[in-house]
Symmetry: C2
Subunit: 314 residues, 2 copies
């Protein structure tokens, strides 16, 4: 498989991103190829510093960069030779099988919508994040940050998209879908969340299990799919990051697999659900380890061909 990596995206780009690219090479087979997309001179300089032979990669030059603070749609339109735009061109032309970036999340979404397109029937794509539980099971939480302000029908469809994801990627037969809310009762939440509850409870496309509160996260028997808007999802994910750092500060030498599963650097990235190609978005603060795992995550998504699975099931 051929994986495209946005070398210019993220707070520690391009250095840390290139370091992660070098680290991932041992996990690649003969048939796999990593395509570095970004400033050619910077890439060559960094690889030379690291003593890495550039021929391990393909390098595709991109002369522009979409910054983290850029307005997504404007930046995508005005910077056609940015690493994100170039990556999407390769993806749309099927020159790569998957594309990942730790750069501007909004621009990554705009790029997906403009080039590979949203899958017909999908209202708004979502970021699907994994939430680990103490019993070893995992839940998918969506949206983890693409759509901060979701309309009711979008929230409802996240339940459907999450169901397809859980069936195909997690291999769960009849996944339970819950709505992240501020109480267990049907009457709780914002008008949007209340209306979503109404529409989800009798929806034949999902096995709706009611509300879940944030204190039920990480415990045994969480729902397989947890639905919320991208603002709330992002807050939940980033607070999880804070938890990880707390653990680390308090118990310096703790070596616990569950604890490690809270570390975003081990997860690496979150797949975009609902677009016509395999796209993974990493955390803006990704360094070497997170980048390596973001690339590996992209390989996993390409392997199960997530985009195709959603397309067939929606």
């Amino acid at each position: 498989m051929r994986i495209g990596l946005d070398v210019m995206g993220g707070d520690f780009a391009p250095e840390a991103i290139i370091e992660g690219a070098v680290d991932v090479l041992p996990f690649f087979t003969e048939d796999d190829r990593l395509i570095l997309i970004g400033d050619q001179a910077a890439i060559n300089k960094k690889l030379a510093e690291m003593g890495t032979d550039p021929s391990h990669f393909e390098i595709v030059h991109a002369s522009q960069v979409i910054e983290m603070g850029d307005t997504p749609s404007k930046a995508f339109a005005q910077k056609p030779d940015s690493s994100i735009a170039v990556g999407y061109k390769l993806l749309a032309n099927k020159e790569i099988d998957g594309f990942c970036s730790a750069g501007n999340t909004g621009a990554m979404l705009v790029g997906a919508s403009y080039t590979v397109n949203v899958i017909p029937g999908v209202l708004r794509p979502a970021l699907a994040a994994m939430i680990p539980a103490l019993d070893g099971k995992k839940s998918i939480l969506l949206d983890a940050g693409l759509n901060p302000d979701c309309k009711v029908d979008v929230l409802v469809q996240y339940g459907v998209l999450g169901t397809i994801f859980a069936k195909n990627v997690l291999g769960v037969d009849n996944p339970t879908v819950k709505l992240l809310n501020i109480g267990s009762e049907e009457s709780k939440g914002t008008p949007t969340v209340k209306a979503a509850y109404e529409m989800m409870k009798d929806n034949p496309s999902m096995n709706f299990g009611g509300n879940i509160e944030a204190n039920e996260l990480f415990v045994e028997g969480m729902a397989e799919v947890i639905v919320c808007d991208g603002f709330v999802g992002n807050i939940v994910l980033k607070e999880t990051e804070a938890i990880y750092h707390l653990f680390k500060k308090k118990i310096a030498n703790m070596n616990d697999p569950f604890f490690e599963s809270l570390n975003f650097e081990t997860v690496g990235g979150t797949p975009v659900i609902g677009v016509n190609a395999n796209v993974v978005i990493g955390h803006g603060v990704s360094k070497r380890k997170a980048t390596m795992n973001m690339i590996r995550q992209t390989c996993d998504v390409v392997r199960v061909n997530l985009a195709q699975k959603i397309k067939e099931s929606i």
Copy 2:
């Protein structure tokens, strides 16, 4: 001081609430008095079981109960003899100096608005929760759950209310106010949050420090005041509860003051900011220990006369 306790509010009421009331007695001085509001027969039965002399308390009978799932305004209007309604009557008549309940949060807000009233100039009252940091400092997060869907001007005023709270209760001279958001850049977030940023950044009534992301929670140097809507605030608080349980499961015998500060049972309750009397709301799942600390928290709020301080400063 005279503290009113809603004995019927919370998932484990009235038993656990009465247990907490008994536990708090050693912390009360001769001048303090706890008023138990609820079903007289149930109160007497429980006190008899515990072997506690009822004369340690005053008991005010209330024949009705507002359930956790009741619609707040409807329930408050239709149950004038509920423990929450009776408690607010006592508070409005100044027969008690503070009132606390682990019951229906919405009904507690409605009750405050209908009886003791919102302080003139306050758009919407808020729940102020404490978020501990590793450096021992505390931040106030508001709103922690009263207003799930906040308008822009309400968010902006939370910054002002939080500033008054931090000055008067935490004793911080020039508290920094930050907006909880999904990115550090001004362009991030929902339209509401973006507009709030615009209005807060040049506001002379607060020392605005920009956005804070959820991964910056619990770390050194957080802002003294963190502003978000009640939906997000409630998710943050309850995820903190989940963190505490994770710690407890993973490190059974850990005895760490910071770790314990994440336990809502140690905190007990969150004061309502912006109403004309001292009101504290506890967690619905409060048991004995949480109830005891909710009552102690109410004593603290009465001691600094928080309601009066807000009134003078707004």
